[in-house]
Symmetry: C2
Subunit: 132 residues, 2 copies
DNA sequence: CCTTGCATCTCTAGTCACTATAGATGCTAC
DNA sequence: GTAGCATCTATAGTGACTAGAGATGCAAGG
């Protein structure tokens, strides 16, 4: 397959380090790619998307278990609707909580930047914005 | 000070484990509290808010360095406006990126839950929603 | 007072998710 | 075919906790 790429190309395309890619394969987040006769990994297009997804999830602070659940939604599209919906709803609730907190933080950062005209910041309520 | 609380009470109020609280103190995220004559820690109200803030930041996947920057905005309210604004703007850009990704994920989860009426999920585009 | 017992203390070691290094082998281009 | 960078496996190290061991603190009952 000519369009298959090496682990180095995959790393460059996604910004993910090579050992991390192998680590994700080891713990089962990335499926094992095919190998050449000389035992080097060859990745296909779907690996690029999947790795990008995993990276964004990690950046957003999702637990490994949550990432597995989300990937399971892709891996088992023939699962009964109920099961998939239940997982999706749990994840959605989590996503909504995160959105609310980020919005609060965003508002406070914007307020700080906006009211900074005088020369000194009067007060910072970042902690209060996120402490609940 | 009667309103001071022990590390155990702080742990219960914030849901943070006791060794983690001591760890945050060790790495300088939480200020050292005063001690009793017998050397046990006594926390004040501001510690509760600050620890809650740190926890939410960790859950949202902020790097330790980012958390330090955000806390610095609180710790140095007398800093010149420019410096504070610069930090706040950097953090704000980061927060906005996260918000955009979470919104994309939210939309896709909602679409999946919504179109699931038939009995099987037709297709899952979660990966595409977050792969970019 | 003094004990009983749970809470804290410090210190060391273990876990999880990477990340870096070492030494061997693969692959492409002269 | 060989120079040289890429990839391979395997092991060790880092950052951020997390769990234990053994010693001391401290409120409550006798």
């Amino acid at each position: 397959m000519m369009q298959d790429i090496t682990i180095g190309q995959l790393a460059r395309e996604t910004g993910c380090k090579i050992p991390t890619i192998r680590y994700y394969e080891q713990i089962g987040l990335l499926p094992q790619p095919r190998r050449t006769a000389g035992n080097t990994r060859r990745y296909e297009a779907n690996h690029v998307a999947r790795l990008g997804f995993i990276q964004h999830c990690r950046e957003l602070g999702f637990a490994q278990n949550a990432i597995r659940e989300l990937l399971a939604l892709t891996d088992q599209p023939d699962e009964p609707c109920e099961a998939v919906t239940k997982i999706a709803e749990t994840r959605l609730a989590d996503v909504k909580r995160r959105l609310a907190r980020l919005e609060a933080l965003k508002s406070e950062l914007e307020r700080m930047i906006g009211t900074c005209a005088g020369g000194r910041v009067k007060q910072c309520r970042i902690i209060e914005a996120l402490a609940h």
